[in-house]
Symmetry: D2
Subunit: 332 residues, 4 copies
């Protein structure tokens, strides 16, 4: 239930205000160079704080290698990477508890775990855990890079604007949070990754992508606009024996299998659940509606921090598919 | 790789022109009434042929129970349901082979399986296999119905038109295939299904939904329109202790967990790859582009046949999540 | 629950008196020659009937390929092999039902499936299903043979006698069933298969081996006799860089990993549960003990039919481990 | 590959001389009381040092809860327990490296991981990691205890002697390590746990049991002695409707399913690989045989420390099977 992958397998754990968050990775090959520095670039991209509209938790985010690393190389044994939680203010979470925040997991966690969940800062549901996904992504990207495969994601729309600055200004002006759309491209993939039906590339990518908090939709290639296209328009004509097509409405995936073109997908990120606006929710103690507002500084647009997490998810899926595919080279 | 589910587990097999297509289901409880009649309604919905724009393969689609059934009851042992292929015309598939059809899996199958795939009628990639998914869906729906959980999907848009007839007429007029959008609602779910991160309800639903051929996008609740909403607008205010919210922009899933509201998602179905229009592809034998057209009658809009398959996928996911959840009742 | 393997994955189904028994195999590479003939030798070894002490069900045991085969080659798609049940006499199973046969699964099946199980001839618990394991074994052996890996099992003891004839005569004289010990050797394995801890080679082999009905113990290398050895005696001194050791008390597995020597293990097969002798059991209808005897002809020593099934299990495990291992070749 | 279980799932990690060893547990229900004290008894049993023949690493073995615990209760989120490694002497492991120790994983690790493994103190192959299994066992036992299910293992033979003291004296006199046999009983189990074939109770127990270093054989009930029994003798006559039998040669498992009697199995533990005796191995640097002896104090009989680890393995399997079984209560 808490595992993703077949050969390159990840398991996530931790809570926002517990001792640490982390990831356990099985199937990482032995002999990969690894040190804290190689994680910096991606960890910094996740942090936000530079751009307006983001409010970073000012933590150093230093990866600690609990297992699977020796002499700055992966050993081939299970690789555990943790990030200690140092910046956990002792707020009055008890008080907040009575009023589940709309859009947050407060209510479902309370019901599912019968009140036993760690509710501080979202607990295990916190976006804080994406730091662990980013770390797994760094490992996966490293595996892919050796085969010249690269994942690149970027924001393409904020608050309905393709100009990021303009979209953020809308949020600032409205004193409200906003959503956005993130685009991801994977280049260099061979033809033939994925399996028909249950392990189609779309199935696996969407599976891991929807593990990222706040993502509520995904589309491959032409995606939802395909609903308005004719077949003769949507079909991508084949140009050469390597699979190159003149258009890429399929997003690089046909029959669930990579077809030799760039894999491309877009996701929608909902507006940050924590908005500066006043909101109404039910006070579970009194059983009555209550108007309240969320304290503290929060990201106005969490979508800004999603690209590097999306790349991580894409990279983990592709590293696993490559390893699965390798076995198929060894018959005949 | 060819398995979906943790407790209620399905495995699919077969080719369009092989002896049969089928599904093996583990984890189906013993004692469920089962006979061929209970599959008729859903199998007929998949067939099409009644509505204009669909061209059914005129096969009887009679489920044969190879294992797991005794005296018209499930036994609790692995349940295998097959559909024999009877209507497989011996067309000249060899000739077609040289020119991979755009939008079809012809090219990727050729590359992935090094020419060993059964290429007749799409082989294992054929939409024919969705008959097996529908059969699994009938079993899953039966499990859900005992708890008053129901899945219902319907077409909401064809060729950009919300009037189905009008959309189909567009296809007929243009002599081209068209796509559409299908909407699915799941009612009666308890709060608490799904797991944070890797087994979020969105992750599992999208995983299985993207196993259905031709689906290229999925969105939950407000979906892509969330990108243009403010947080105060998107958040669903909680109304009562059962989780009921006044709006349902989250599509019934928060933090990856069902929240007591209807689960709602939409998918986009690309236009049928087989279009009556002339198309260009590469002739792999000559290495040159070639204009050709696809012979025979095909669905102008495959989306029309998707709703019952989508319900089946949703039902299989939910049956599995319910069984997983049951264990959590047994502590404390 | 009904799946074994990570890349080369098998799923078993069927009942002794249902329409068929079979196996679904995922991860079989495309391009392997396959026809019914290649299964004959192993299927005949399973049948018994030649040797005294075995009573074959006189069925032809012809494999039918429901999926994954085209033009006498595997396609790479899920491979389904079934064996139709033709020789199922309509005995009065209802009467027998009241008295669970000692040593058989009658009682546990009745309780687990609440009386819904197919009880005819043991139903899904029948040794009949080992025909499906043998079929999977033929596929796996074929994969291994290309790398010069071979599995060979043979009877080494019957009824306490190392002379098979003598052991069987004991059974015939006593008019009672007897057990035996089967030895299995796997040659040609590379160093490095298996994983530390949960996927040790011993873990995986024993997992699948204990799926074979009637096996109640397994030991690797020196096995239970290691309990009486000194460390200096049990340790296998290394002779060369390929891993060859002068003795093989470890059975070719150290730290859960193949060490370059022959993998060797022994299993014990309990006496056939169906014995000609009178026995006592509880009549579930009357609630009273009842003396009865099992009708019909049965194997006096089921162990005689186990070697080919044991080879099949060993081959399936090793094919899977080889495929898993292949990915490790592709880094560095 | 590094995961065991379906609902109650464990993942192990760490190296003997790395920062920590640990276990990640999914599927632990919310609301279980948890603190370091509840682990003490079992952790102490694993330590040895009290009895002659054992040489404990004098470490405190204090469980640290990295995730899944809040206010001394499990939260239902993934539970991570680590044990920091504090007593890791900086020996000259480099020198030892050239000569793989017989019976140890030195050689296979070197080959499998191409020299990248953490070789200090056995690295990931170290018996040190069983501390993590014991911790998982404490959690699993707690789950079982609520249903009055208990696992109890004990030494029944050392160096061929049923008197433990006498067996150990043999080792001391011979200045050599010795092996032993450990017996395990599980009481209070319901009828019906396990699945036919691939998830038989014997399959699952043996799978996890062979994850414990140094175990080389397992037998259920009468085990290997069944090879010398007649069927009429081995069969356990049913006494009552709860499944109680007058004998228990089946070890409480028939057809792979628990039958309402005590589950019983025995394992053989090979002599400790590290013996005080001089041994010969290959020096990989020189390519020549070399006589050497292992430095430091080591357990003369590692079997003495196995019982609590065996109980842990048994408890983890049974907790998982119970959770799987619970879903079956919810139909009909």
């Amino acid at each position: 239930m808490n595992t993703f992958g077949t050969i390159f397998r990840i398991h996530i754990f931790g809570e926002s205000h517990g001792p640490a968050v982390g990831i356990l990775i099985d199937g990482c090959p032995a002999g990969m160079d690894i040190d804290a520095d190689m994680f910096s670039a991606d960890l910094n991209r996740r942090k936000g704080g530079v751009q307006k509209g983001t409010t970073p938790r000012a933590e150093p985010d230093i990866p600690v290698f609990l297992s699977g690393v020796f002499n700055n190389k992966t050993t081939g044994a299970p690789l555990t990477i943790i990030f200690e939680n140092t910046n956990t203010r002792s707020q009055d979470y008890e008080k907040q508890r009575e009023i589940p925040r709309p859009g947050h997991a407060d209510f479902v966690a309370q019901e599912k775990y019968k009140g036993m969940q760690d509710y501080r800062g979202g607990g295990h549901f916190s976006g804080r855990l994406t730091v662990a996904l980013v770390a797994a992504g760094v490992i996966a990207k490293n595996i892919l890079a050796r085969r010249n495969i690269h994942c690149k994601a970027s924001i393409i729309e904020i608050a309905g604007e393709t100009n990021i600055e303009k979209g953020l200004q809308k949020a600032i002006d409205a004193k409200d949070s906003v959503g956005g759309i993130v685009d991801c491209h994977i280049t260099g993939l061979p033809v033939g990754l994925g399996e028909p039906f249950f392990n189609s590339v779309e199935s696996l990518l969407s599976h891991l992508v929807f593990s990222i908090p706040a993502i509520k939709g995904i589309e491959f290639g032409a995606g939802f606009s395909a609903a308005k296209m004719f077949g003769s328009e949507h079909n991508d004509p084949l140009l050469n024996k390597e699979g190159k097509t003149s258009t890429n409405h399929a997003g690089g995936i046909v029959g669930g299998i990579t077809n030799g073109n760039e894999v491309n997908f877009k996701v929608v990120v909902k507006p940050t659940s924590s908005t500066p606006q006043k909101q109404t929710s039910l006070n579970l103690a009194t059983g009555k509606p209550e108007v309240f507002s969320i304290k503290g500084r929060h990201d106005l647009c969490i979508a800004l921090r999603v690209p590097v997490v999306l790349e991580a998810a894409a990279a983990c899926v592709m590293a696993d598919l490559l390893f699965i595919n390798d076995q198929q080279l060894h018959y005949s």
